[in-house]
């Protein structure tokens, strides 16, 4: 009887260990990353792009594909037993409070290893505060308010350049115009490009863009005739557009999400308002819906971005990934999808370097990692986060490009690179033809 009891105990112990081992193996099979994007609401168009870019990156990371990128050759995360990446998507609807609630749910209920998101700077602000509170790493791929990396957070890293970088690019373009550096445009006298007017949506992102524009305009000798903030959910922007018109600007500068960007351009057209330059701070100005809805009206409009299919001319991986994306979604990658792709890619590389899913290991890996530029589909020199200082967690190797919608020989509207001047793929259309 005693022997039988001992045998039974040993059997039970072996069984328990087998279950535990199986559990460990299963845990190693997938690494959950919580992804927060605006999948419904006013920025749903951007949300769809972001999700598509993130899903494609996870797909490439989990399989072996003929792409010139380390991530595509591993078929998982080898340093964590070949674990696959699982993205757990949540829709924050552009609502900062909902975003924070969902982040808690992802951390406590879904037990995610870390967070990716959230596009809207205002949502990223609250979600990153939750991550900081719980000691969970968050990589931000697409929010550009400079203030986000000025909070000395230990668990927050941002891959995309922020709006100070992007706005500086704009003023470099203005400078290049007066110096005759812009491809296809003779030097423009400074006094012919002096008056600016801006309209920015009034959340964290737009108001920071507005402030940055005003500060840089002042430093560079420009006059901001009108600087408006408006609600991105506005259904009518007539009075805003008339107010911009009253400033008689040489350049109209915008920071809009998708639906308000489309409404803004339609209202500009309806009110017959124009300027020599119309520039959008990315976001709504470069989602596919912007050009598909407005058609030829977008020709000549500038937008800052981080991706253009023309990037493939200098980065092989960009062309390969874009070709895959077109096969899957029937259109080119946009700045949003390219940044989401890069966000997931960064997560994969950080996990590979960490060799563990423990927060401390991920934190150390993120602070030490350097991803070379040739691994990326965006035109940056690479990814390396500032481990401390005034911009802690910010990728210091990022840069932006300014594209202009132009009609190519086949009659298709494409985003040509105008800035940096050495990467320019077409002559700039200047001044903007009126609508």
């Amino acid at each position: 009887m005693k022997k039988a009891c001992s045998a039974l105990s040993v059997f039970a112990l072996v069984l328990a260990m087998a279950f535990m081992a199986a559990e460990v193996c299963r845990a190693a099979e997938t690494i959950k990353i919580g992804v927060l994007y605006p999948l419904t609401g006013g920025a749903a168009a951007e949300g769809r792009e972001l999700r598509a870019g993130a899903e494609l990156a996870a797909d490439i990371a989990n399989n072996v594909m003929p792409i010139d990128m380390d991530m595509a050759k591993r078929g998982g995360v080898p340093s964590i037993g070949g674990a696959k990446i699982e993205l757990v998507f949540k829709d924050h609807e552009g609502n900062p409070t909902l975003g924070a609630d969902l982040a808690k749910k992802l951390i406590l209920d879904d037990k995610v290893v870390g967070i990716l998101g959230c596009y809207h700077s205002a949502v990223t602000k609250t979600v990153s505060a939750v991550c900081e509170q719980y000691g969970i790493p968050m990589i931000n791929d697409s929010s550009t308010s400079p203030a986000l990396t000025q909070r000395d957070f230990k668990w927050f890293w941002r891959t995309t350049p922020h709006d100070v970088t992007f706005t500086r690019d704009l003023f470099e373009l203005f400078k290049g115009l007066s110096e005759g550096k812009v491809k296809g445009v003779p030097a423009v006298k400074k006094d012919q490009m002096i008056r600016l007017a801006s309209a920015c949506e009034k959340t964290e992102w737009g108001s920071q863009v507005s402030e940055t524009i005003e500060a840089m305009a002042k430093n560079n000798g420009f006059v901001v005739g009108k600087s408006l903030l408006y609600a991105a959910k506005s259904a009518d922007l007539s009075s805003e557009v008339r107010s911009l018109k009253s400033a008689k600007p040489d350049a109209l500068l915008f920071a809009c999400y998708a639906s308000d960007a489309i409404l803004m351009v339609k209202t500009l057209k309806a009110q017959k308002v124009s300027a020599k330059i119309i520039w959008g701070q990315n976001a709504g100005f470069e989602v596919p819906e912007f050009r598909s809805t407005l058609g030829e009206d977008v020709v000549g409009i500038l937008t800052r971005t981080v991706f253009s299919p023309q990037v493939a001319q200098v980065k092989k991986a960009a062309g390969q990934v874009n070709a895959l994306y077109i096969t899957k979604y029937n259109h080119d990658l946009s700045g949003a999808s390219a940044r989401a792709f890069t966000g997931v890619q960064t997560w994969v590389e950080v996990l590979q370097k960490a060799g563990s899913t423990k927060p401390d290991a991920i934190q150390a890996a993120a602070n030490a990692i350097t991803i070379p530029g040739d691994q990326l589909i965006v035109p940056w020199a690479g990814i390396k986060f500032a481990p401390e200082g005034a911009d802690r967690g910010q990728n210091v190797m990022g840069s932006g490009i300014i594209g202009q919608y132009q009609k190519n020989k086949e009659g298709k509207i494409v985003l040509e690179i105008i800035y940096p001047f050495d990467l320019a793929t077409a002559n700039m259309i200047y001044p903007f033809k009126s609508f």
Partner: protein
Amino acid sequence: MDILAGSVAAGLLIGLVFALVALGLTIIFGMMDIVNFAHGEFLMIGMYTALLTSQTTGIDPLAALPVAALVGFLLGVCCYFGFVKYLLRGPMVAQLLGTFGLMLLLRNLALLFFGSEDRTIHEGLLVGQSFEIGMGIVIPATKLAAAVLAVVAFVGTWLLMNRTKLGRAMTATALNRQGARYMGISTERMNALAWGIGGATVTVAGALLVNFWSVTPFVGLLFTMIAFAIVALGGFGSVPGAFFAGLLVGLITEIPGFWDFFAYITGSSWMSGISMTPFKYTWVYLAYFLIMIFRPRGLFGWKS
């Protein structure tokens, strides 16, 4: 000068549409002293009706007006017989909470069926068209058409209310329900008719608006507030009051334009440095607040 003229023109055009939005609210209040909090949701349904009719059949959004009117009329009548009729038996607070509940119901049904994304009409005979009429005034064709058709709808409703037997029966019901019943008027039917006409006018306003205003299930709240302000300003129950107050509210929403004009003519840098556009509806609510304090009957009100 073009800033001033442009703002006045824009204010008057949108004011006419605002007036039509408020017309239904004032008719319903005039008839049975009930404040319809779901009024903006009726407008939202009108917007979706025109948008979906246009998109599914390929007809111009403006041609969808009769469909929107029919949907609004039926919705109003159904709401009355299925819901409001029973609310009228309860105290005032039940009526207020009841229409508030109707608002939430309609909004959430729209959210369920149409989703939360903005929808806009991108194609149509007048969509994107505009013309200059001198003095720098640019008139978008969709807004002009909406304003003209709003006037037509307004005149039609006024004639119905004042020049037909039906209208007189409705007025009699509004003035003295019991007396009207003694005269053989079916007050129940008159109430239903008021809800039908109220629903039809506001859904027509929605169908006009959707030509230049994007629609989401949440669009109604702004217009409910604007309609309340117009009805308070014009006088509860007054049709001409709604018309003139609508124009006035339209002009009030253009205060940012007037501000820009004064900044321009005075050359004041501090004035031009301040943007009034984020506050364009604040002035409307301020006017509503002031009129409720100093003249609760409104400018043309006949019900105290």
